[in-house]
Symmetry: C2
Amino acid sequence: MQRKRKLGRGVAVVGAGMSQFGMFKDKNSKDLFAEAFNEMLSSVDKGVDPEDIEALYLGNFTNDFFIHQAHWGPIISDLIGHTPKPATRTEGACASSALALREGVFAIASGFYDMVLVGGVEEMSKLPVEKVTEGLALATVPYEMEAGFTFPGVFGAIATAYFERYGATREHLMNVTIKSHNNAPLNPKAQFKVSIRDIMNSRIKRAKDKGEAVPAWRDEKEFLRDPVVNPVVAWPMHLYDCCPISDGASCMLLVAEEIAENFTDDPLHVIGIGQGSGRGLHAADDITYFEATRYAAKEAYELSGLKPEDIQIAEVHDCFSMAEIIHPEDLGFFKPGEGYKAVEEGLTALDGSKPINTSGGLKCKGHPVGATGIAQLYEIWRQLRGEAGERQVPIKDLRVGAAHNLGGTGGTCTFTILERR
Amino acid sequence: MQRKRKLGRGVAVVGAGMSQFGMFKDKNSKDLFAEAFNEMLSSVDKGVDPEDIEALYLGNFTNDFFIHQAHWGPIISDLIGHTPKPATRTEGACASSALALREGVFAIASGFYDMVLVGGVEEMSKLPVEKVTEGLALATVPYEMEAGFTFPGVFGAIATAYFERYGATREHLMNVTIKSHNNAPLNPKAQFKVSIRDIMNSRIKRAKDKGEAVPAWRDEKEFLRDPVVNPVVAWPMHLYDCCPISDGASCMLLVAEEIAENFTDDPLHVIGIGQGSGRGLHAADDITYFEATRYAAKEAYELSGLKPEDIQIAEVHDCFSMAEIIHPEDLGFFKPGEGYKAVEEGLTALDGSKPINTSGGLKCKGHPVGATGIAQLYEIWRQLRGEAGERQVPIKDLRVGAAHNLGGTGGTCTFTILERR
């Protein structure tokens, strides 16, 4: 039954929006989705009548746990005036909205709908941090949770194995953090819009101003090595290796390719969609890669006919610094064990040959888990259309970008490729 | 942009399975899904290699809340040996697995996959009953939950409005309960396999045996009117108007129509899929119908080209007796305000002209919420193929059956039509 993947008809992105990401006392899930939705509407070059949206797919991990409310499909449907048309929630932990996008693509490619809104939302900051950690751990497989694993521990274990196998060290993780923090100040929607150097300098200045002992940090790595400012969470994951707790929302408007020109002369085409599932760390013979990511990449490459070297920019799921080293290897951008060298050599920087997480990544942009998958694709939308402002990558003839989204301990992974023609 | 619905290619059902439904101390979600999956495998007439399943869609409402575990796609994927292939959870409250089926249909109709497993699971009985009620209330819209509405109250309010509008009474609700309990003993997988008459007679016998005062009930309605055996929950919903708390799982195997003959000479064809979303009771100008159901029915009739009178048997979402009166009206089987008369006249009985809930319905078969949508279609599979045993309806040339699934206070409604050719 094996065959090359295909879709009955093409699907294009004609609009995209994203709320501010952060921890908001005064904004709830509906406020945040409204922010993303309104930006999406204004992003459609020739305009769109929201009445023409035929179906909604919404990614949400567990507002059930975070704010004691499930069944977000109809709530968001009501918010945007979409009822009685269908609204479906998808859940794949931190990959929930990438699944929404995929179902939107299938719904259009099947011929049933011509225009579908896909999005994601999560509201995490209303609970105390230890409860948020407990909520996130609902995404691990049962054996892991029972053994006491939460996510910093998971990626700490992965990093330890990777270090042992390939000779990387904690210093290499710092390169990822420094790069993410260099990109984030260029992204007005990011949760942390500050570089490590600026954090360091402001702390030095504050000490001087107060007449306190001035820290002896000479560069970002000395700052990150200081256990007072960057304490260990689960070795070798330190505070600055971990993404924050966030609230936020994102959405994209998908249409059948044949009608895209009604909405813009510059659509993006969904040329690759891939998804895989994983058994979790307890069942892996090797925890230095994610089989589900490799499967997702295979599906997406098969549909698009592209190879890893054809992907010009990418957002990958850097819930922890270690993750940003592993995923590009699994996606075929770099060989196994070479990912950390690529970061060190600057290949993944904004002006590198393969820019990764130009948005600042989950680490700095923020990670409202259900919104993340489509927020990653929002960054690709911005970059491919040349609308990324100060963080626009300097690649000539930029045409192809992709996003990799991971849920749980690799339980759900997706890879989505967009093309500008 | 309005157009008649169509699908790029047809989708067929070639296998179906369902676990026993009930409250199980010694079975968890994985045990129950395995039961359904194994029956599905053995139901495929010419056999199937589970390795050929390309994707999984799984409906689950909130095992997040019920058993403190989310992200069920990959857990079930692992259980059935499906990793690293994709697994997606859908959630639409009590309609979660009908959404899974719909996404499976789109995934195949899109041309991307040829064989997809769709299913549902829920494990509700491990918590105390008041916590289960709280968990279910996560599916109401926020205004309703804050106002103190749980589901018996919701359907109590609906019944009160319906009685006022159409002149129905509590006696008419009893007709639904009595019918459901008449069908259930014929369904070996049902949670309550006993008629109201048998419950009544066994209580009379017990009183006699113990030398206690013998109750004076002369028929089922006298039994149901007795507030000792059938106390009020939220007027006019009494104990026997409400479905139970259940654990269970269900699944179906979908394939592209063009390859169905490899698996069976007697497939069912998915000829109608419809879905709608609703704003909730607080926003309805009339609570005696569900707009989302009407929209779902419209979509499904448009795709199938059928009319309500073409549906020969149906399972509808009778979470409460009142619901079984309203849904057939919304689906066009009976006019608004006529549904209760149809039950009274026996039209919806097993040997009636439009048999409804031959399985015993949610009321007696049980309602493990995430499993229900596909469990309803399992009953249609059994009936259309003439494999429903003692509860087989006596309709000649039975070809078309349908299932209606409802989530929340009408937040998510679906209608799915299957045909045997």
